[in-house]
């Protein structure tokens, strides 16, 4: 039996198109409205949805995601709340859902308790941003035991042996960081992104999603020439910031994701 994540990547391949991985902060602008946002991202055509767990110290994130994390925290979002939100949404959302968190909220929750609850509510994968391969061992095994896909980041600084290790320990897909630095909207895809993905391919077999700095359909079209999927985070989060208090929030988000999907379709 293949997982929802595997099916999603198999479908992109069968349809010969680039996957769209969309990131939003769970609980932004509020837990209730975040449910609307995630459904709208799904309806807009995202192939995979990453839900960020808000954290007080997001040291790998740029200003857009920092601010969205702060909005969510102010509105009372916690890891527990985000897990409950996934439980409420799961039957109404087709895309696989990946939780994207810093390590401490998960450590505080308890890794075993977290994995059990995440599996129960229907989370498909988990990416822990500051838990690199060397620290991930026991946590990774607990996730796999609960049927959750551990997803690892790869960066321009990741060496070949570590790419192979990530490919061995990871499930679903690998997330390639296109450039050094924190998350954030950029005008152009990093110059050496193609070279990076080609290098990573030499040491891996899992599908590769490329992210950091992507914000427009043409970026996704570019990335699709060499990667399996493109991740858009900060640009989508900025839409939520702009329309957060508007009744048209869900429509705006759905429209933005559809627009991004134009780049993913051909």
């Amino acid at each position: 039996m293949s997982t929802r994540l595997e099916q999603a990547f198999a479908r992109m391949k069968a349809e010969q198109r680039t996957g769209l991985v969309a990131f939003v902060s769970g609980g932004d602008p509020t837990l209730e409205r975040s449910g609307e946002v995630i459904r709208a991202v799904d309806e807009g055509g995202a192939d995979v949805i990453e839900i960020g767990v808000p954290f007080s110290d997001p040291l790998a994130d740029g200003p857009e995601i920092q601010r969205s994390s702060e909005r969510a925290l102010r509105a009372g979002a916690t890891l527990r709340g985000v897990l409950d939100l996934v439980g409420d949404l799961r039957t109404n959302v087709a895309a696989p859902l990946v939780l994207f968190s810093y390590a401490n909220p998960v450590v505080r929750f308890g890794v075993e308790a977290f994995a059990a609850r995440a599996a129960e509510v229907g989370v498909d994968g988990v990416l822990l941003l500051d838990l690199p391969l060397e620290e991930a061992g026991p946590t990774r095994d607990v996730l796999v035991a609960h049927g959750l896909a551990p997803i690892f980041l790869l960066s321009p600084t990741t060496t070949g042996p570590r790419v192979r290790k990530a490919n061995d320990l990871g499930r679903g897909f690998l997330y390639a960081i296109s450039r050094l630095g924190v998350t954030g909207v950029r005008d152009q895809v990093a110059d050496d992104a193609r070279g990076l993905v080609e290098r990573l391919r030499q040491d891996s077999t899992l599908p590769i999603a490329l992210g950091f700095g992507l914000s427009r359909p043409e970026h996704i079209r570019d990335v699709g020439k060499y990667a399996d999927a493109a991740v858009v985070g900060s640009a989508l989060v900025a839409q939520i910031a702009r329309h957060g208090s508007s009744p048209a929030l869900a429509d705006e988000v759905r429209g933005f994701v559809r627009w991004l999907r134009e780049g993913a379709s051909a």
């Binding site: 808000p54 954290f55 007080s56 110290d57 997001p58 040291l59 790998a60 740029g62 920092q66 925290l73 916690t78 890891l79 527990r80 810093y102 390590a103 401490n104 909220p105 998960v106 450590v107 505080r108 929750f109 941003l129 500051d130 838990l131 690199p132 391969l133 060397e134 620290e135 690892f152 980041l153 790869l154 960066s155 321009p156 600084t157 990741t158 060496t159 570590r162 960081i177 050094l180 630095g181 924190v182």
Partner: protein, 411 residues
């Protein structure tokens, strides 16, 4: 100078108590960093392990500790403070007399020499009280390195003198307006800078915190404090102290002092955290009194956090102790029962600040005033005839303005 003479004054010690290969001291430490920083941390570890056995590197470090920093710093018997406390003889290790006015220069110098060895041309650093920022700006001027210091905007206000000093030394000070606008937020911003600039930039972390190898490296560059004090104590009193006391923010001055005595079971090791306005109200930075184990800024250690794993806002009158996590080796020393940790409140630290000024003619940094507040109890515990060593980690000039503000007419 002969080897014997150098040993006679105490030398920094390397390789004495290494963490395991993954950077753990017992259950604490490790390397919890985003993927992009894994390879740079490995390269840093390799470079550090190479220089710490390189005689030419150590010789240059020790030469500059003598000629530039002004070491050894004195061990001073505080007679009037001892008398007032009515207990053991109190010995002050005078790190406040080191160049730039605090112990921070020892580590900044060691790491800047390492950065130059690694071919890095740009340094980023965080600072809380500003002493690490000043020390970093100073060594960057000395070695001709570009220097950017991140500092919380609240700390910039309460340590305005140090901001000005850094700028005079040619550093760029960047204000951080996030979170509590203090040390933790400055570290986040310095890490964000570094993750984008890691090819040519060295992150000069100022305390015994963060991912491996920083806790080890910072402790070893600071080990000169305890080594000198040990030699000085033996020379003057013919025996080791009964206790060693230091304030603990991240914990670099305390690790620098404790390191020389960890193997001496007869020496009590006492760390003093910032009790702020008291533990009950939550406005403090006493991690061992009010925290739980967690992961923050690269390391597993004791952290002040809420039920959801978000890091708590901290408070201390002292910017240098106002931090939500503690160095992982302190967490291990507590776990082993080798060191004990207490706290001093804001008002106890302010009272100690005034007492040391009036009794000894020394205005301590507010951070060090916490250690002075703590040493009085320890001196009474040990009793007359005993010896208690305390690290006077920095001088108080930087704090005079905010103390004037706090005390008003009572000063």
């Amino acid at each position: 100078m002969t080897m014997a003479a150098q040993e006679g004054r105490g030398r920094p010690v390397f390789g004495r108590r290494d963490p395991d290969a993954r950077g753990y001291f017992g259950e604490f430490g490790g390397r919890f960093v985003p993927e992009t920083l894994v390879a740079p941390m490995e390269a840093l570890t390799e470079a550090y392990f190479a220089v710490r056995t390189d005689e030419a590197f150590i010789a240059e470090f020790e030469h500059l500790l003598r000629q530039f920093v002004g070491r050894p710093t004195p061990l001073y018997e505080a007679r009037r403070l001892t008398e007032a406390c009515g207990g053991a003889t109190i010995l002050l290790k005078r790190e406040d007399l080191a160049h730039t006015g605090a112990h921070k220069i020892n580590n900044a110098l060691g790491q800047a020499l390492l950065a130059r060895r690694m071919g890095k041309s740009r340094i980023v650093a965080e600072t809380g009280a500003g002493q690490h920022g000043v020390a970093t700006a100073t060594v960057c001027a000395l070695l001709g390195l570009q220097c950017v210091v991140y500092m919380g905007v609240d700390d910039m206000a309460r340590q305005a003198l140090n901001v000005f000093r850094m700028r005079m030394l040619g550093a760029e000070v960047r204000g951080v307006d996030a979170g509590a606008r203090t040390l933790k937020d400055a570290i986040n911003e310095a890490m964000r800078d570094w993750v984008a600039t890691v090819q040519d930039t060295y992150y000069l972390l100022g305390s015994a915190l963060g991912p491996h190898p920083y806790p080890l490296m910072v402790r070893e560059f600071q080990s000169i404090i305890g080594e000198e004090a040990r030699v000085q104590c033996l020379a003057s009193y013919g025996r080791l102290p009964d206790a060693a006391v230091a304030c603990v923010g991240g914990g670099s001055n305390a690790m620098g002092l404790f390191d020389a005595f960890v193997a001496d079971a007869g020496v009590r090791l006492v760390g003093i955290e910032a009790g702020g306005e008291g533990i009950a109200g939550g406005r403090h930075a006493a991690r061992f009194a009010g925290g739980t184990p967690g992961v923050l800024q690269g390391t597993r250690t004791w952290v002040l956090q809420d039920e959801a794993g978000n890091i708590s806002l901290t408070h201390s009158v002292s910017a240098g102790l106002d931090y939500a996590a503690v160095g992982p080796e302190h967490a291990d020393l507590l776990q082993q029962g080798r060191a004990e940790y207490h706290f001093a409140t804001d008002s106890e630290a302010l009272a100690a600040f005034q007492r040391l000024g009036r009794l000894e003619g020394i205005l301590p940094a507010l951070e060090s005033a916490h250690a002075i507040a703590g040493v009085e109890q320890v001196a009474r515990d040990v009793g007359p005839g005993g010896l208690v060593l305390v690290n006077l980690s920095g001088r108080g000039d930087k704090d005079v303005q905010s103390i004037q503000h706090l005390l008003g007419d009572q000063a």
